[in-house]
């Protein structure tokens, strides 16, 4: 980018020409899904902002993107993550043992779940290791307080 457009872009907020400016990072996350021995089934879940909001409205684990994998192993995912007002990148996932698309529907008590934070963040490449070992627990139950 030449200097003049960069200068105009920098001055534009002062001149009132730019309504909003948001920053994003395109992250390629390498996820290693570890399941209890002998279990193999599709894995579903969601990507969360580890923290979002400010002050009294600051909350953990705000989901923003679905996650899906054919089974345990290494999965690569590319995410567009905002940098304004949010911190961190955390994956919650569970294994769909009975294939009904639901996590622990009534009568089902053995579908394992896990929670892990992708590091480093913010960065264009991050890694997370997720151990699916907690049957029928939600993200809130697995959250250790950050």
């Amino acid at each position: 980018m030449s200097r003049l457009p960069l200068l105009l872009l920098s001055l534009s907020p002062l001149l009132g020409c730019v309504n909003s400016r948001t920053q994003w990072v395109e992250v390629t996350v390498t996820t290693e899904l570890i399941a209890p021995e002998g279990l193999s089934a599709p894995v579903y879940g969601e990507w969360n902002h580890t923290w979002s909001g400010e002050g009294e409205l600051r909350v953990p684990l705000l989901p923003f993107e679905d996650f899906a994998a054919d089974g345990p192993g290494v999965v690569s995912t590319t995410l567009l993550v905002p940098l304004d007002g949010v911190e961190g990148l955390t994956l919650y996932a569970w294994m769909d043992l009975d294939g009904d698309g639901l996590h622990c529907a009534p009568g089902v008590t053995d579908e394992p779940a896990g929670l892990g934070e992708a590091l480093p963040f913010p960065a264009t490449e991050a890694d997370v290791t997720l151990s699916l070992e907690a049957p029928c627990l939600g993200a809130e139950a697995l959250w250790d307080g950050g």
Binding site: M1, L9, S12, G16, C17, V18, N19, S20, R21, T22, Q23, W24, V25, E26, T28, L80, L83, P122, T124, E125
Partner: protein
């Protein structure tokens, strides 16, 4: 008709002919300027100016106009704010398109900028086109104002990628019409007040509360 009867007809009709007022090429009455008419009509006559100060809910503001010596144009400056969170600063021109003894219709085009603070904050270059219909010329002037406001919103997204930074821009236009009805009263030469109702429509199709305002108007010759 005999000469005597012709003389009689002329003698009878002469006073009536003498009492008929001469044709007036300008139907507007002469006299001091009508600042409330000028302000509510949106444009002053050549040589005049008008300034109005507005207070009420939700709008506060000030507006000035001065007639220019060309083409009946007025230079107009306006600062207007809704609860001091949605502020518009505009300048431009206005002109009386129709001006009879009973009705004045004017139009104006203003450009400038707007800043809105709060959760629905926005900013950008703005324009406002307005039609004003006022019934003049008299001590009491009712007027209807229809305004169409537009804001050009430019949003910038800066994306960090493994290959480098990307800057994307998107543009949209936000539209906010406002209708007002005023009644202005001339208090004394060069000074008037008006009261009115506002029907703003911020960011259609959402609903906006109606409002009311009072104007203090001064004006006169340059």
């Amino acid at each position: 008709m005999s000469p005597l009867s012709l003389l009689l007809v002329v003698a009878v009709s002469a006073p009536a002919l003498a009492e008929r007022p001469p044709p007036n090429p300008d139907p507007r009455p002469m006299g001091p300027p009508d600042p409330h008419l000028d302000a509510l009509a949106g444009a002053s006559e050549v040589g005049d100016w008008a300034v109005s100060l507005e207070t009420g809910f939700p709008f506060f503001g000030a507006r000035g106009q001065v007639a220019l010596p060309w083409m009946g144009l007025n230079a107009v400056g306006s600062v207007n704010s809704a609860l001091f969170t949605d502020t518009w600063a505009l300048g431009g021109v206005s002109r009386r398109w129709v001006d009879t003894h009973r009705v004045v219709l004017s139009g104006e085009i203003l450009v400038g900028g707007t800043i809105r603070s709060g959760d629905l904050s926005r900013r950008g270059p703005a324009s406002q086109t307005t039609l004003r219909l006022a019934r003049g010329h008299g001590r009491i002037v009712p007027a209807l104002t229809l305004s169409s406001r537009h804001v050009l919103l430019t949003d910038v997204q800066e994306i960090q990628t493994a290959e480098g930074d990307i800057v994307e821009r998107s543009r949209s236009i936000a539209w906010s019409p406002v209708a007002s009805f005023d009644v202005g009263v001339g208090v004394c030469p060069g000074f008037a007040v008006s009261a009115g109702l506002d029907v703003p429509w911020f960011d259609p199709p959402g609903f906006s509360l109606p409002g009311a305002h009072i104007n203090l108007i001064v004006g006169g010759w340059k």
